[in-house]
């Protein structure tokens, strides 16, 4: 939101200089620079101590039930303000807060001498443990329970409920990390930027910021020390937060933002300043994502995730049902648009009853993606075959150019196996419409051998490639800073795939968060990538930044970045070009 940035930066100028300038470093999301006053989320209250209640059990019980009722009322009020799906989600949470079984358990604990706050805490802890042991969906609701418990304990102990600040003027939101209940309610007219102390580039907050187009700096240690209303300059491109910036810094930020506004007015296909075409595509997960992709001027789809058809199903979707779902999406795109379908990416972390994989201690390194259909003597192969047949049938007589790719491929024989199967389902292997994803260092380093065969193209999934390169589970918040696609090790692997593409004349693309980072997009082009697939909201900015750099600039940026020692250094040295 650079236009908002200009105004608030100018207003903020008078406030700066009162105290010491302090700089914090984190991981930037987006390229905008904005300035504004800090507003912090209220922290979750500490665990209430297990001390005997001083009031009577009846008073404590009333206090506990009143706190739960207040939380339910607050959740409903926020739901009413947000409307839509959010209102439904928050209504369900309100019902959890005023649950009759919960009230009974809280009352029993209070009767046994606990304080209201302690009784609430212990009761929720009991539900938390139960949910955590009950499969993926309910484990995912644990964060909701924690959020409700924290709110109720806050009310019962007389402190502010955790959550978003209530403000009417634009502000920079500073938090440890954001709860899902909070992020759903972010008002992008008010939130100039997000700054968090925790989290990495693939954290919930970062992905949300990316999709909402709000600049963010995540994982910036120390920012929780910032007091409310401190003026900060948030530079998403550099990944820095400057508290009490100088007036020169603020002026420079206004100028940069104005330039960015001009640039985002560009339309049309992606290209560098010297007219090297770079296809700008959208990542979609279903028909609902198509309008935004088209509105953003996407030249097609670089990653069509098909899991929506399979999740929560007891049996694989039928051929006709799949044909219908795929055709709806293919038909939305015109002649010349490319739509790359990724076949089902199953894994033990998202079990499907009809693709039995067994229990695995570490699903990220397990039988997943294409492996799920090759392992166990191919007992799951029919599921993939039906999908490929459905894609082939749906692609018949649509103007869009439909390509298919397999996830989690390591080496040439797997790719050839996939080409065989795809060809037997009628798909166009000969003309290069069947390819693979490069998500492992093994695939990146042997891309030459893979592409020397019948594989028609490669698309680099940078989120997984980063996780496997850095040996850091992308689901682990504590290792969030490892999950940075700017890491030179990741860039060198992408470069290896890019070189293989150039040597074989086969196209190399990137689909993943990396493509949505405009500066990194330039580096990727410099590494030989010729299509970038991203969240639709990122396309305008990537198009704009790409148009300011020649191919030679991109190559130079890539050369600098790949010889850096760290992700941070890679970003800095590329930005300096």
């Amino acid at each position: 939101m650079p236009e908002t940035a200009g105004g608030s930066a100018a207003e903020a100028a008078g406030v700066a200089g009162a105290a010491d300038r302090t700089e914090y470093e984190g991981v930037g999301v987006g390229t905008a620079t904005v300035a504004g006053p800090v507003a912090r989320t209220a922290q979750a209250p500490p665990e209430p101590p297990d001390v005997p209640a001083t009031a009577t059990a009846d008073e404590e019980r009333r206090k506990a039930l009143a706190a739960l009722a207040a939380v339910a009322a607050d959740l409903r009020a926020r739901g009413a303000a947000a409307g839509g799906d959010t209102a439904d989600v928050l209504e369900a949470q309100a019902m959890m807060a005023e649950d009759p079984d919960l009230e009974e358990r809280v009352s029993a604990r209070v009767a046994a001498g606990k304080t209201a706050a302690r009784a609430i805490h212990e009761t929720f802890a009991g539900y938390r443990e139960m949910f955590a042991g009950l499969g993926e969906y309910l484990a995912g609701r644990v964060a909701d329970l924690d959020d409700i418990a924290a709110r109720a304990v806050a009310v019962a102990t007389g402190v502010a409920m955790p959550g978003l600040p209530r403000r009417t003027e634009p502000y920079v939101l500073v938090a440890e990390d954001l709860a899902p209940a909070d992020t759903a309610l972010l008002d992008r007219r008010l939130v100039l930027a997000l700054v968090t102390a925790e989290g990495g580039p693939t954290s919930h907050t970062a992905i949300l910021a990316q999709s909402m187009g709000i600049p963010a700096v995540v994982g910036a240690a120390g920012v929780l020390d910032l007091a409310d209303d401190t003026v900060v300059l948030v530079d998403a491109a550099a990944g820095t937060v400057v508290a009490r910036p100088t007036s020169e810094e603020l002026e420079a930020a206004v100028t940069r933002s104005a330039a960015a506004v001009t640039a985002t007015a560009l339309r049309g296909p992606g290209r560098t300043a010297d007219s090297q075409p770079v296809r700008l595509l959208a990542n979609i997960g279903g028909a609902a994502d198509v309008p935004e992709a088209l509105a953003a001027g996407a030249e097609g789809v670089g990653l069509f995730r098909t899991e929506f058809l399979y999740l929560d199903a007891d049996e694989p979707p039928s051929l006709p049902a799949q044909v219908k779902a795929y055709r709806e999406i293919f038909e939305a795109f015109g002649a010349g648009a490319r739509v790359v379908v990724r076949t089902l990416d199953a894994g033990a972390d998202k079990p499907l009853p009809f693709v039995p994989l067994g229990e695995e201690p570490n699903p990220a390194l397990g039988v997943r993606g294409l492996r799920a259909f090759r392992a166990f003597d191919g007992r799951n192969e029919a599921v993939l075959r039906t999908q490929l047949e459905a894609i082939n049938e749906a692609a018949d007589a649509v103007p869009a150019d439909v390509w298919v790719m397999a996830p989690m491929v390591n080496e040439a024989p797997e790719a050839e196996w996939f080409c065989d199967l795809a060809a037997s389902c009628g798909l166009d292997v000969v003309n290069g419409r069947v390819g693979i994803m490069v998500e492992t260092p093994a695939a990146a380093l042997t891309a030459g051998a893979i592409l020397a065969g019948r594989t028609g193209f490669a698309s680099i999934g940078t989120n997984d490639l980063t996780q496997y390169t850095m040996a850091a589970d992308r689901m682990l918040g504590a290792l969030g800073t490892c999950q940075d696609p700017w890491h030179p090790a990741v860039l060198k692997l992408i470069g290896a795939a890019g070189d293989a593409g150039a040597a074989t004349g086969k196209p190399i693309g990137v689909c993943g968060e990396a493509a949505a980072d405009p500066l990194l997009a330039c580096v990727l082009v410099g590494l030989g990538v010729r299509s970038l697939s991203m969240a639709p909201s990122a396309i305008a900015e990537v198009r704009a930044v790409l148009a300011t750099r020649t191919l030679e600039d991109c190559v130079e940026m890539a050369a600098r970045a790949r010889w850096a020692a760290t992700a941070r250094e890679a970003r800095r040295t590329a930005a300096a070009r």
């Binding site: 439904d88 989600v89 209504e91 369900a92 019902m95 959890m96 649950d99 009759p100 079984d101 919960l102 539900y127 139960m130 949910f131 009950l134 499969g135 969906y137 309910l138 609701r141 929560d312 199903a313 007891d314």
Partner: protein, 88 residues
């Protein structure tokens, strides 16, 4: 005590919105109502947390039971609800 076994029609099972719709309806009934997985222990159908913790999925068989005046109608109404896809 009126009782009925039904197959849950909602695609997402008794989670999220369908759970909320079901529990709201149960809570509004004048009689105590319970829900159980077929062959499993019964829980309070008016409790969102208890219903969620049953972890009922699409196509699962569940047993509804109610007690007191109007129990039969209560079971009937809730059964109808469960046999509808509430997330559609």
């Amino acid at each position: 005590m009126p009782e009925r076994t039904v197959t849950v029609a909602s695609k997402v099972g008794l989670h999220a919105r369908p759970a909320a719709v079901f529990v709201k309806k149960a809570a509004a009934l004048p009689v105590p109502v319970s829900l159980a997985r077929e062959g499993g222990p019964a829980v309070n159908a008016k409790s969102m947390l208890a219903v969620m913790a049953l972890d009922v999925r699409h196509g699962d068989r569940v047993v509804l039971a109610a007690d007191g005046d109007g129990a039969a109608e209560a079971v009937e109404q809730l059964a109808e609800l469960l046999e509808t896809d509430l997330d559609a």
